[in-house]
Structures are given as C-alpha cells and as structure tokens.
C-alpha cells in the first residue's frame, strides 16, 4: 500500500472500521503504526471522532418531529385536494375560451368580404322563371369555352372537380354592370356562379379553400382561385353541401390518381 492511499483510507476511517473486517483500513492502520507521525495523527483523529460520536449518541429525536413530518405530509395532500377545484375552474375557463375562439374563427370564415354581392347573385334566382337560361347539353367543364365563344368571357371556368357534371343551361347576367356567369346543373338542381373576385371585392381566406354557409334555404359553397371566383348553391343544408363537395373532390382525386386514397 502506498502512502497516498493509506492516508486517504486513514482519514476516511470510522472508529472501529478496522475491527469490523474492513481489510483495506486495517492495512492502512498497520502502515500508520510503522510511522510515528502518522500513528500520532491517526490517534488524535480517533479521539476526536469518538468524542463527536459519543456526543451524537446522546442526541434524541425531538418528540414532536415525527408527528410534525406526518402532519406536513397530510397537509401537502390536502393542499393538492384543495387545489383541485381551482384547477378544474381554470381548465373549464380554458375550454370555454377555446370554444369561443373556435366559434369566432368559424363565424369569421363564414362572414367574408364581398358576401353581400354573392348573396345578391343567389337572390336573382327568385325572379327567374327558367326561360332566362339558354339550354345547353355539355359537361360543366366545357362551359368555360362556351362562355368565351358566346360572351367573350375569358377564364370563367368551372373547377376540375365539377367539370364532369352535366350542364343543362347557361346565361350571363350583369350585376351592377359586371358580368356573372350562371350555370344550371342537372344534379341536385344546382346552380354554379362564376365571376371575377375583383369585380365584387370578394376576399376569402385562405384562397383556394372552400367557404360554406347557409342563406335562407340555400346551401352555398364558394372558393377563390386567383381572381376567379366560383360559387355553387343548391336548396339544402350546409352539411349536405360539405359532404357533396368532399365527395366530388375525392371522386376527382381517385380519377386523377387511380389506386391511391385521398386525404
């Protein structure tokens, strides 16, 4: 055993550790006994340690300490229980706030800039007798060309998802002097409206996504792609319109990507 290791072991020796079978400490003690200074230092250390341990043996645990610890533990548990109603109130408030934000967000999405102009287009149908529409027999996707050829309206196209639907009538009418294309669709007796968003100051956020709403007995869906605005309307409820759009877009996706599922 070298001197450095022996010194560490001696300093860490608890009184009686060499007698309790700690062989390393026993070797260090034997090493110390060969050197007068080390032996004396170790003896002084032992005297001090014994004195301190003797004093500490007389220390008794304060009578109330165990009870105080137990009380404090119980109080911690009660504090937690007391906090539960407050936590529930906070969670409830957060839930209500979250609900209000969602509701506000939905209302905001339904009330877009230019909605009055869109409603006015739908209301024109109240005064129609059916003769206004020019009978056609083509897919809705071909109406864009028809509008260009007959009314010189460029980029008044029906979105690809609805291009396969059968159009039965078309017309172009002026609303405040600005053109609106109206297309009657065989399915669901639906009406499509195509117009320039900038003509009627229609702003939809985000662009390229559907906004649906109900007006009187009409279910309406509108979207804007660039400056082109497309609106579909039929008599029914908003959730029917949402389902119909989803189905039409899925159908289009499966035609465009056979073998893959739409997400």
């Amino acid at each position: 055993m070298n001197a450095k290791k022996a010194e560490i072991l001696l300093r860490l020796a608890r009184p009686g550790s060499e007698k309790s079978g700690d062989r390393a400490t026993l070797k260090a003690v034997r090493w110390a006994e060969k050197d007068e200074r080390s032996r004396r230092l170790f003896e002084e250390q032992r005297l001090l340690d014994r004195r301190i341990l003797d004093i500490l043996t007389t220390v008794t645990l304060p009578e109330t300490l165990s009870a105080r610890v137990a009380d404090a533990k119980a109080m911690k548990r009660h504090e937690w229980r007391r906090a539960i109603p407050s936590l529930l109130a906070v969670l409830l408030a957060l839930a209500v706030l979250g609900g209000l934000l969602v509701f506000y967000g939905m209302q905001r999405a339904k009330n877009f800039v230019g909605k009055d102009a869109a409603l006015e287009m739908i209301q024109t149908t109240d005064e129609m007798n059916g003769l206004e529409l020019e009978p056609v027999s083509m897919n809705a996707g071909g109406v864009g060309d028809w509008l260009f050829l007959n009314h010189n309206l460029e980029h008044y196209d029906v979105p690809p998802a609805f291009a396969g639907l059968k159009a039965v009538g078309c017309r172009v009418f002026k609303q405040h002097g600005l053109p609106v294309a109206q297309i009657a669709i065989d399915e669901k007796k639906m009406l499509f409206f195509v117009f320039r968003a900038s003509d009627f100051h229609v702003q939809l956020n985000p662009p390229g996504r559907w906004t649906t709403f109900e007006h009187e007995d009409w279910a309406v869906a509108i979207r804007r792609d660039g400056d082109s605005c497309f609106m579909a309307a039929f008599r029914g409820r908003e959730d029917e319109m949402k389902k119909w759009i989803n189905r039409a877009e899925k159908k289009r996706f499966s035609v465009a990507n056979p073998g893959r599922s739409a997400h």
Binding site: R14, R51, L56, L61
Partner: protein, 140 residues
Amino acid sequence: LQAEDLKAFYLFALLLTGNGREASDLIVETLPALSSQLGQFRHGHHFRARIIRALRQRWKEHKSPSANEFESDQEPERLARFCASLPEPERSTVALFYSNLLDHDDAATLLGLSLQDYAATLASARNKLTELFAYERKES
C-alpha cells in the same frame, strides 16, 4: 421513513444548521415534499442522497438569520454550532461523515469532490474542530 433514518437525517440537519430547532424545521419543510418520490428510487442510498441534496439546497436558500444564535448549552448543540461554523464544503463533509447516511464514494460525489479531496476536506475540518474544542476547554 424509519425512525432511525429520520434520526440520521436529523443529525445531518443538526450539524448543518447548528441549531436543533432549525434542524427540525428544515426536516419538516423538506421531507414531506419528497415523500411522493420515494417509489422512484430503486436503491435506498439514492433516495438518501436526494434528501440530503434537498436539505442542503433548502438550507442554502432559506437559512434563518438567527440560525447560529445561542439556543442551548447542551453538548450536542455546542458541537452542532462548531460544525455549522465551518465553511463549505467542510461543514457538509463533517455532517455527512458523522451522520453516516452515505458511503464515502456517494458522499464525495454528492459534494462534487474526488475521494482524495473529500478525505482532505474531512482532515481539514477535523483540525478546525479540534481547535474549537481546545479553545472551549481553555475558556471554561
């Protein structure tokens, strides 16, 4: 906690604070908050080390200004005052060594010392305690 463990922690707190009342308060304020963590420790000495760390931390942050005031002239309290008057890490080294809560390796690790430095710190603290006892004897 078993009664003997509680006593060992009390001895540690006593040597750390130098005052029986402060030691009791420190135990009462620290242990209940940790009792729920007992199940997280597979080994008892890990949990003891966690408690010791919490006791030291709490004492460092909430040390009472009256902690070292004279409270009793009993020998244990005099010894505790001597230990508490030592600078760190000597104070904690002495408290850990004599409360015998951890083995030397764990105690050194807890204090951020090598075993050699832990032993040297203990030797230095013993020298100071010897001087304090000698001074006390001379005064009396």
